[in-house]
Symmetry: C2
Subunit: 434 residues, 2 copies
Amino acid sequence: MAFKVGLLGLGTVGTGTAQILLDPAGRHPLLKELEIHRVGVRSPDKPRAVQFPEGVLTADLEAIVSDREIEIVVELIGGLEPARSLILQAIAHGKHVVTANKAVIARHGAEIFTAANEKGVYVMLEASVGGGIPVIQPLKQSLGANRIQSVTGIVNGTTNYILTRMQREGADFGEVLADAQQLGYAEADPTADVDGLDAADKIAILASLAFGGRIDRDRVYAEGIRKVSAADISYAEKLGFTIKLLAIAKRERQNPEHSEDRLQLRVHPTLVPKTHPLASIDGVYNAIFIEGDPIGQVMFYGPGAGAGPTASAVVADLLNVAAVLKTETEPIPHPLIGCSHQHYCSIASMEEVVTRFYVRLLTEDQPGVIGQLGTCFGNHGVSLESVVQTGMRDRLAEIVLVTHDVREGNFNSALADIQTMSAISTIPSLLRVL
Amino acid sequence: MAFKVGLLGLGTVGTGTAQILLDPAGRHPLLKELEIHRVGVRSPDKPRAVQFPEGVLTADLEAIVSDREIEIVVELIGGLEPARSLILQAIAHGKHVVTANKAVIARHGAEIFTAANEKGVYVMLEASVGGGIPVIQPLKQSLGANRIQSVTGIVNGTTNYILTRMQREGADFGEVLADAQQLGYAEADPTADVDGLDAADKIAILASLAFGGRIDRDRVYAEGIRKVSAADISYAEKLGFTIKLLAIAKRERQNPEHSEDRLQLRVHPTLVPKTHPLASIDGVYNAIFIEGDPIGQVMFYGPGAGAGPTASAVVADLLNVAAVLKTETEPIPHPLIGCSHQHYCSIASMEEVVTRFYVRLLTEDQPGVIGQLGTCFGNHGVSLESVVQTGMRDRLAEIVLVTHDVREGNFNSALADIQTMSAISTIPSLLRVL
């Protein structure tokens, strides 16, 4: 007996998913028991890369989520609506759901999982983070013995592609973005990618799994790569760093005043030491680096997007659900597949985050400026690791400095003071260091 | 109701496993339902890093595998016997088995899984390959949508540590091995590691999962790192390669004469292009690089050994079995956890493998030698990518050459001819290129 699947959306990932399901030879044997029953698309008459029997394609998406024969609904429309409503309707009709939609899970996950738990169905989301890279299932399962300390990811292929090309070509952000748009590596409206919003959705999802609680997506700090310049990439390189857009979720040591650990949740361009495994992840590839006790450090690397890889993750979820349907006799939440978080994780404000900083300043070319900077940082408890006058730019002296670990709030007050110093012209760059 | 676990062995991994089970806070909630019922050790009275209630420690291992209350037996003794017999006895008594023992699975897997399938129990082995790195479960599950084309791993930490130090220090094998033994990174008898036997066990296991068939361990070609010299590491570096001990399992394009794909299965020191993700895996870290359709390339990276990481994998398997026990009502083989391979994979002989070669030769310093070499290789259909006379060594001219892809049989006949050439003194090195 085959498990009937309803597919919502037949774009690149939907097509990739259908191609796997229609050609199961040489893949997992359980795939032969999955059958595409109906496919919802906007224009059923449009020519398609995959052929379905008469009547499988339909424009009536609501008919799919309520179809009595369908057991699993695969949502590959993307965006918040109508994806959210269709997922909720599918759940209400007792369907299991597989989705690649990070935005809807990051923003409406609480509502969706509450509904799913009430109905005793599963919502699977391997494809929502890291394309084909298995990371959701390992976090639910293979790493279950660990207390996770941090999850650090390069989870947006577009920005990693842009930063890699900026580094290799010494080019500035604007020109590489324009070229990436032309080549199809960046969208016409690149906001979600280059401003870090997509990465923020993804780290919210990873943090929820790693730390076992719900995440308020609005509390995730997101800073994109628009301000990263060729000059900073070059200075970072000389200092032994590569600049990457990192998505970071980190458990803070428990504060005696708080009953519970707090999380840091932040997306920003970051100077990554070249010896770190994440420093060499280039182009559209993604990687997720996880630290836990007792495992230490593990990293998952692979293609972060694309039809084939993302479809691979969608079908992995389908296999998981099919295996559950085959072996369970009653729909109780499977302890390694279902989601049972009820509470929201406590999230630290950026002011409280402790990190190192890289700063580039343009100052009057007069003696004593470095001394003044050092004194002012020192007054705010910021200690400096290195200060280098790199040369002259626009008739101003250019100074690049890297701090030791400092509470971001302290650093900001130091910076506010420095901005009032008469010798300081501008502070073109301010980046965090891993 | 807790699931009762019997532990065989309380060495470093056994101790690490017990420490996780005895301290479940902040880890997967299902861990609280696992209880260490009995622990089998050679000397129950020896002082231990973990304390158990009176009567838990016993020297009677057979009493554990037949204990009526125990549902899961964890075998952490290592080696072939008595591990094999104890595993088979545990299965015969209807226990699920979790093991970190690559040797026993690689050599007696067929017998063990046949027995397990007959009894309807699971044998789990995440810890047998790659220490804490999740790779067994992803192969069974997350990558199930794919046709796997190749699995290439750095799966032995000792040899990777030795090669990394040889590279950094320009040192020769012997001195680094001696130092590694002193530091505890290599065993007093390093044979299993440095001769590639441990890696061969592991690639046999990975291949079985990746290609869905049983593997005759004796057909895995294993060549260790004893002959890798500082000179070769340095030449490889100049040519843009890093030398790694790779374990390779690769599906060969189907031959029209054969009804089934054949596998290459081989362990040998390999020149890895520096741009390849495996080239930067250093020290005791392991990584497994997998190519599949449609996912493309993914890599799993992490600590390949050690108490904490290996215990993390053992406990991940315990969680998997506990989840099955909690949700299944009858013991049918779970399609993503159980093993149902019956047939043996067909394995290509090394003569048939197509690869590139790196060769270092010492020749008389006379004109025309490179021409003679080129002609001889050409006669056997071996085309050369680069030939460099690197200088003089022991009053002989040293020549380093790299071939294009060639059938290993053809290459060997060319080499046999070359060895008869009067100008050729010796061929100190012969390595394959990824």
